[in-house]
Protein backbone atom coordinates (compact mmCIF):
# COMPACT_ATOMS: atom_id res chain seq x y z
CA UNK A 1 0.00 0.00 0.00
CA UNK A 2 1.27 3.46 -0.78
CA UNK A 3 1.82 5.89 2.04
CA UNK A 4 -0.79 8.19 0.48
CA UNK A 5 -3.51 5.54 0.71
CA UNK A 6 -2.40 4.47 4.16
CA UNK A 7 -2.62 8.00 5.55
CA UNK A 8 -5.99 8.74 3.98
CA UNK A 9 -7.56 5.45 5.11
CA UNK A 10 -6.00 5.69 8.54
CA UNK A 11 -7.33 9.21 9.12
CA UNK A 12 -10.80 8.18 7.98
CA UNK A 13 -10.81 5.25 10.34
CA UNK A 14 -9.46 7.19 13.30
CA UNK A 15 -11.99 10.00 12.87
CA UNK A 16 -14.90 7.66 12.24
CA UNK A 17 -15.53 6.89 15.90
CA UNK A 18 -15.87 10.52 16.78
CA UNK A 19 -19.57 11.42 16.87
CA UNK A 20 -19.98 14.69 18.71
CA UNK A 21 -23.30 15.64 20.30
CA UNK A 22 -23.68 18.70 18.14
CA UNK A 23 -26.80 20.13 19.78
CA UNK A 24 -25.34 19.78 23.26
CA UNK A 25 -22.12 21.39 22.09
CA UNK A 26 -24.04 24.20 20.40
CA UNK A 27 -25.94 24.97 23.59
CA UNK A 28 -22.70 24.95 25.56
CA UNK A 29 -20.95 27.24 23.11
CA UNK A 30 -23.84 29.72 23.02
CA UNK A 31 -24.09 29.75 26.80
CA UNK A 32 -20.35 30.23 27.29
CA UNK A 33 -20.29 32.97 24.67
CA UNK A 34 -23.10 34.84 26.42
CA UNK A 35 -21.20 34.68 29.67
CA UNK A 36 -18.09 35.94 27.92
CA UNK A 37 -19.99 38.82 26.29
CA UNK A 38 -21.42 39.77 29.68
CA UNK A 39 -18.00 39.59 31.28
CA UNK A 40 -16.56 41.67 28.48
CA UNK A 41 -19.20 44.35 28.97
CA UNK A 42 -18.76 44.39 32.73
CA UNK A 43 -14.99 44.65 32.29
CA UNK A 44 -15.42 47.57 29.92
CA UNK A 45 -17.70 49.39 32.35
CA UNK A 46 -15.31 48.75 35.22
CA UNK A 47 -12.37 49.96 33.13
CA UNK A 48 -14.19 53.19 32.25
CA UNK A 49 -15.16 53.67 35.89
CA UNK A 50 -11.57 53.18 37.00
CA UNK A 51 -10.37 55.74 34.48
CA UNK A 52 -12.99 58.27 35.62
CA UNK A 53 -12.20 57.74 39.30
CA UNK A 54 -8.47 58.01 38.60
CA UNK A 55 -9.01 61.20 36.63
CA UNK A 56 -11.09 62.74 39.39
CA UNK A 57 -8.72 61.60 42.13
CA UNK A 58 -5.35 62.21 40.55
CA UNK A 59 -6.17 64.72 37.83
CA UNK A 60 -5.90 67.84 39.97
CA UNK A 61 -2.61 66.61 41.48
CA UNK A 62 -1.25 65.89 38.03
CA UNK A 63 -2.22 69.37 36.89
CA UNK A 64 -0.57 70.87 39.93
CA UNK A 65 2.54 68.87 39.14
CA UNK A 66 2.58 70.14 35.58
CA UNK A 67 2.04 73.66 36.82
CA UNK A 68 4.94 73.44 39.22
CA UNK A 69 7.15 72.17 36.40
CA UNK A 70 6.36 75.32 34.49
CA UNK A 71 7.33 77.52 37.40
CA UNK A 72 10.94 77.91 36.41
CA UNK A 73 13.28 80.80 36.01
CA UNK A 74 13.60 82.50 32.64
CA UNK A 75 16.20 80.89 30.43
CA UNK A 76 17.42 84.06 28.75
CA UNK A 77 17.52 86.70 31.39
CA UNK A 78 18.69 90.17 30.51
CA UNK A 79 20.54 90.21 33.80
CA UNK A 80 22.36 86.90 34.02
CA UNK A 81 24.31 88.07 37.08
CA UNK A 82 21.09 88.50 39.01
CA UNK A 83 19.66 85.47 40.72
CA UNK A 84 16.34 85.01 39.02
CA UNK A 85 13.79 83.71 41.43
CA UNK A 86 11.57 80.75 40.80
CA UNK A 87 7.93 80.95 41.70
CA UNK A 88 8.52 80.65 45.44
CA UNK A 89 11.30 83.19 45.39
CA UNK A 90 9.05 85.69 43.65
CA UNK A 91 6.91 85.90 46.76
CA UNK A 92 7.21 89.12 48.72
CA UNK A 93 5.96 92.66 49.20
CA UNK A 94 6.49 95.24 46.47
CA UNK A 95 5.49 98.84 46.01
CA UNK A 96 5.35 101.34 43.19
CA UNK A 97 4.10 104.82 42.60
CA UNK A 98 1.85 105.66 39.69
CA UNK A 99 2.55 109.24 38.76
CA UNK A 100 0.08 109.68 35.93
CA UNK A 101 -3.08 111.51 36.89
CA UNK A 102 -6.25 109.51 37.30
CA UNK A 103 -7.93 107.07 39.67
CA UNK A 104 -4.83 104.88 39.84
CA UNK A 105 -2.44 107.67 40.77
CA UNK A 106 -0.57 107.15 44.02
CA UNK A 107 1.34 104.49 45.91
CA UNK A 108 0.48 100.85 45.33
CA UNK A 109 1.70 97.88 47.27
CA UNK A 110 1.48 94.34 46.06
CA UNK A 111 2.07 91.17 48.05
CA UNK A 112 2.81 88.12 45.92
CA UNK A 113 2.22 84.83 47.74
CA UNK A 114 3.62 81.41 47.02
CA UNK A 115 0.15 80.00 46.40
CA UNK A 116 -0.35 82.33 43.44
CA UNK A 117 -2.62 84.82 45.18
CA UNK A 118 -1.84 88.49 45.36
CA UNK A 119 -2.98 91.12 47.85
CA UNK A 120 -3.03 94.68 46.60
CA UNK A 121 -3.15 97.81 48.63
CA UNK A 122 -4.33 100.80 46.56
CA UNK A 123 -4.02 104.55 47.04
CA UNK A 124 -6.81 106.01 49.17
CA UNK A 125 -8.35 107.69 46.17
CA UNK A 126 -8.80 104.41 44.33
CA UNK A 127 -12.46 103.32 44.56
CA UNK A 128 -12.23 99.78 43.08
CA UNK A 129 -11.80 96.31 44.52
CA UNK A 130 -8.28 95.17 45.40
CA UNK A 131 -8.72 91.60 46.65
CA UNK A 132 -9.20 88.15 45.19
CA UNK A 133 -6.57 88.52 42.49
CA UNK A 134 -4.19 85.86 41.29
CA UNK A 135 -0.98 85.61 39.36
CA UNK A 136 0.90 82.89 37.57
CA UNK A 137 4.52 82.46 36.47
CA UNK A 138 6.21 80.35 33.84
CA UNK A 139 9.58 81.09 32.38
CA UNK A 140 9.91 84.85 32.23
CA UNK A 141 6.15 85.32 31.92
CA UNK A 142 3.91 86.83 34.56
CA UNK A 143 0.16 86.69 34.18
CA UNK A 144 -2.45 88.30 36.42
CA UNK A 145 -6.16 88.85 36.57
CA UNK A 146 -5.85 91.95 38.78
CA UNK A 147 -8.72 94.46 38.56
CA UNK A 148 -10.84 91.94 36.72
CA UNK A 149 -13.86 92.92 38.81
CA UNK A 150 -13.96 96.58 37.79
CA UNK A 151 -11.22 98.39 35.85
CA UNK A 152 -10.52 95.35 33.66
CA UNK A 153 -13.98 93.82 33.75
CA UNK A 154 -14.66 91.50 30.80
CA UNK A 155 -11.04 91.51 29.66
CA UNK A 156 -8.59 88.64 29.59
CA UNK A 157 -5.79 88.45 32.19
CA UNK A 158 -2.75 90.52 31.37
CA UNK A 159 0.48 88.89 30.26
CA UNK A 160 3.83 90.48 31.14
CA UNK A 161 7.51 89.69 30.97
CA UNK A 162 9.17 90.04 34.33
CA UNK A 163 12.74 90.88 35.32
CA UNK A 164 14.27 91.47 38.72
CA UNK A 165 17.38 93.43 39.28
CA UNK A 166 18.72 95.48 42.15
CA UNK A 167 15.70 94.88 44.36
CA UNK A 168 13.32 95.98 41.64
CA UNK A 169 10.73 94.04 39.76
CA UNK A 170 9.98 95.23 36.24
CA UNK A 171 6.90 94.08 34.38
CA UNK A 172 6.81 94.70 30.64
CA UNK A 173 3.45 94.18 28.95
CA UNK A 174 3.27 91.48 26.29
CA UNK A 175 -0.47 91.28 25.94
CA UNK A 176 -2.90 93.23 28.04
CA UNK A 177 -6.00 95.00 26.75
CA UNK A 178 -6.61 96.71 30.07
CA UNK A 179 -4.87 100.08 29.94
CA UNK A 180 -5.41 100.80 33.64
CA UNK A 181 -3.69 97.56 34.64
CA UNK A 182 -0.82 98.25 32.28
CA UNK A 183 -0.51 101.66 33.90
CA UNK A 184 -0.33 100.26 37.42
CA UNK A 185 1.88 97.26 36.71
CA UNK A 186 4.33 98.52 34.18
CA UNK A 187 4.59 102.31 34.23
CA UNK A 188 7.23 102.14 36.97
CA UNK A 189 9.35 99.38 38.50
CA UNK A 190 8.17 97.71 41.70
CA UNK A 191 10.57 98.02 44.58
CA UNK A 192 10.77 95.03 46.84
CA UNK A 193 10.07 95.84 50.46
CA UNK A 194 10.33 92.38 52.01
Amino acid sequence: MSIERRIRDGFEQNAADLHPQVEVMLATVVSRTRRRVLLHRVSSVVAVAVVVVAAVTFGPRALDGLRSLRRVAPANSLHPSVTIPAFDQMAGMYSTTVKAKGVTAGVWTMQLRTDGTMVISAPQSYPGAVSGFQFDLWGDRFRTNAFIGDLCSGLAPGLYRWQRAGGELMLTPIQDDCAARVGVFSSHPWRQRS
Binding site: S2, I7, R8, N14, A15, V22, M25, R32, T33
Partner: protein, 162 residues
Protein backbone atom coordinates in the same frame (compact mmCIF):
# COMPACT_ATOMS: atom_id res chain seq x y z
CA UNK B 1 -28.94 38.15 19.23
CA UNK B 2 -31.69 35.64 18.27
CA UNK B 3 -31.35 36.05 14.50
CA UNK B 4 -27.62 35.92 14.81
CA UNK B 5 -27.84 32.73 16.83
CA UNK B 6 -30.11 31.06 14.27
CA UNK B 7 -27.70 31.80 11.49
CA UNK B 8 -24.78 30.75 13.65
CA UNK B 9 -26.52 27.52 14.70
CA UNK B 10 -26.90 26.50 11.09
CA UNK B 11 -23.23 27.10 10.49
CA UNK B 12 -22.26 25.32 13.72
CA UNK B 13 -24.16 22.17 12.82
CA UNK B 14 -22.50 22.07 9.42
CA UNK B 15 -18.92 22.73 10.51
CA UNK B 16 -18.43 21.69 14.11
CA UNK B 17 -18.02 17.90 13.53
CA UNK B 18 -15.46 18.40 10.75
CA UNK B 19 -13.41 20.87 12.73
CA UNK B 20 -13.53 18.62 15.80
CA UNK B 21 -12.31 15.63 13.79
CA UNK B 22 -9.44 17.62 12.31
CA UNK B 23 -8.37 18.84 15.73
CA UNK B 24 -8.71 15.32 17.09
CA UNK B 25 -6.44 13.91 14.37
CA UNK B 26 -3.81 16.46 15.34
CA UNK B 27 -4.06 15.96 19.11
CA UNK B 28 -5.45 12.42 19.54
CA UNK B 29 -7.15 13.52 22.73
CA UNK B 30 -10.89 13.71 22.55
CA UNK B 31 -11.56 15.96 25.52
CA UNK B 32 -8.81 18.39 24.62
CA UNK B 33 -10.06 18.44 21.05
CA UNK B 34 -13.60 19.21 22.22
CA UNK B 35 -12.36 21.99 24.50
CA UNK B 36 -10.29 23.56 21.75
CA UNK B 37 -13.00 23.27 19.11
CA UNK B 38 -15.52 24.79 21.51
CA UNK B 39 -13.17 27.66 22.20
CA UNK B 40 -12.75 28.28 18.48
CA UNK B 41 -16.51 28.36 17.99
CA UNK B 42 -16.96 30.64 21.01
CA UNK B 43 -14.54 33.07 19.41
CA UNK B 44 -16.47 32.70 16.18
CA UNK B 45 -19.79 33.55 17.84
CA UNK B 46 -18.15 36.46 19.66
CA UNK B 47 -17.08 37.87 16.28
CA UNK B 48 -19.93 36.42 14.27
CA UNK B 49 -21.30 39.70 12.91
CA UNK B 50 -17.95 40.42 11.30
CA UNK B 51 -16.78 36.92 10.39
CA UNK B 52 -20.13 35.88 8.88
CA UNK B 53 -19.58 38.51 6.21
CA UNK B 54 -16.31 36.93 5.19
CA UNK B 55 -16.25 34.87 2.03
CA UNK B 56 -15.31 31.71 3.93
CA UNK B 57 -16.13 31.82 7.64
CA UNK B 58 -15.36 28.10 7.90
CA UNK B 59 -11.71 28.86 7.05
CA UNK B 60 -11.63 31.42 9.86
CA UNK B 61 -12.86 29.03 12.55
CA UNK B 62 -10.63 26.26 11.26
CA UNK B 63 -7.63 28.56 11.43
CA UNK B 64 -8.45 29.52 15.01
CA UNK B 65 -8.99 25.89 16.04
CA UNK B 66 -5.75 24.70 14.48
CA UNK B 67 -3.78 27.53 16.00
CA UNK B 68 -5.22 26.71 19.41
CA UNK B 69 -4.41 23.05 18.88
CA UNK B 70 -0.84 23.82 17.92
CA UNK B 71 -0.43 26.12 20.87
CA UNK B 72 -1.75 23.36 23.09
CA UNK B 73 0.72 20.90 21.57
CA UNK B 74 3.56 23.26 22.33
CA UNK B 75 2.47 23.62 25.94
CA UNK B 76 2.03 19.89 26.29
CA UNK B 77 5.48 19.20 24.92
CA UNK B 78 7.03 21.57 27.43
CA UNK B 79 4.95 20.10 30.21
CA UNK B 80 5.88 16.53 29.31
CA UNK B 81 9.53 17.51 29.26
CA UNK B 82 9.18 19.02 32.70
CA UNK B 83 7.04 16.32 34.28
CA UNK B 84 8.28 13.27 32.42
CA UNK B 85 4.67 12.28 32.52
CA UNK B 86 3.29 10.27 29.66
CA UNK B 87 0.09 8.93 31.17
CA UNK B 88 -2.87 10.35 29.29
CA UNK B 89 -6.48 10.16 30.22
CA UNK B 90 -9.63 10.53 28.18
CA UNK B 91 -7.89 9.28 25.08
CA UNK B 92 -10.03 7.73 22.38
CA UNK B 93 -8.11 4.73 21.15
CA UNK B 94 -7.80 5.16 17.38
CA UNK B 95 -8.44 2.24 15.05
CA UNK B 96 -5.18 2.80 13.21
CA UNK B 97 -3.04 3.17 16.28
CA UNK B 98 0.22 2.93 14.32
CA UNK B 99 -0.70 5.89 12.16
CA UNK B 100 -1.84 7.86 15.20
CA UNK B 101 1.48 7.21 16.96
CA UNK B 102 3.47 8.03 13.84
CA UNK B 103 1.58 11.30 13.36
CA UNK B 104 2.15 12.04 17.04
CA UNK B 105 5.90 11.93 16.44
CA UNK B 106 5.78 14.61 13.74
CA UNK B 107 6.57 18.25 14.52
CA UNK B 108 3.38 20.25 15.00
CA UNK B 109 3.46 22.09 11.67
CA UNK B 110 3.96 18.86 9.78
CA UNK B 111 1.17 17.27 11.79
CA UNK B 112 -1.28 20.04 10.94
CA UNK B 113 -0.24 20.06 7.30
CA UNK B 114 -0.66 16.34 6.82
CA UNK B 115 -4.10 16.31 8.49
CA UNK B 116 -5.34 19.26 6.43
CA UNK B 117 -4.02 17.73 3.22
CA UNK B 118 -5.04 14.07 3.61
CA UNK B 119 -8.08 14.29 5.84
CA UNK B 120 -9.63 17.58 4.79
CA UNK B 121 -8.38 17.47 1.19
CA UNK B 122 -7.36 21.10 1.38
CA UNK B 123 -5.16 22.40 -1.44
CA UNK B 124 -1.65 23.55 -0.55
CA UNK B 125 -2.53 27.24 -0.97
CA UNK B 126 -5.38 26.96 1.52
CA UNK B 127 -3.26 25.03 4.01
CA UNK B 128 -0.63 27.74 3.75
CA UNK B 129 -3.31 30.34 4.39
CA UNK B 130 -4.70 28.53 7.43
CA UNK B 131 -1.26 28.00 8.93
CA UNK B 132 -0.07 31.46 7.89
CA UNK B 133 2.98 30.18 6.07
CA UNK B 134 4.16 30.35 2.46
CA UNK B 135 2.89 27.75 0.01
CA UNK B 136 6.43 26.56 -0.58
CA UNK B 137 6.87 26.05 3.18
CA UNK B 138 3.62 24.11 3.35
CA UNK B 139 4.88 21.87 0.53
CA UNK B 140 8.11 21.24 2.41
CA UNK B 141 6.18 20.34 5.58
CA UNK B 142 3.98 17.98 3.64
CA UNK B 143 6.88 16.32 1.88
CA UNK B 144 8.82 15.80 5.09
CA UNK B 145 5.76 14.56 6.92
CA UNK B 146 4.98 12.04 4.21
CA UNK B 147 8.56 10.80 4.07
CA UNK B 148 8.73 10.47 7.85
CA UNK B 149 5.41 8.66 8.05
CA UNK B 150 6.50 6.27 5.31
CA UNK B 151 9.65 5.48 7.31
CA UNK B 152 7.75 4.98 10.53
CA UNK B 153 5.01 2.88 8.95
CA UNK B 154 7.20 1.00 6.50
CA UNK B 155 5.23 2.14 3.48
CA UNK B 156 6.31 3.28 0.03
CA UNK B 157 6.50 6.95 -0.91
CA UNK B 158 4.87 7.97 -4.19
CA UNK B 159 7.24 10.41 -5.75
CA UNK B 160 4.72 11.83 -8.20
CA UNK B 161 2.55 13.49 -5.56
CA UNK B 162 3.05 17.07 -4.37
Amino acid sequence: MEDVELEYAWFFRAEYPAVLRTVFLILHDRHRSEDITQEAFIQLLFHWRKVSRYQRPEAWVRRVAIRLAMRHQKRERIRSLLERETARTNVLEPRDIDLARAVGRLPRMQRATVVLFYFEDRPIAEIADILEIASSTAKVHLHRARTRLAELLGEEVDEDVH
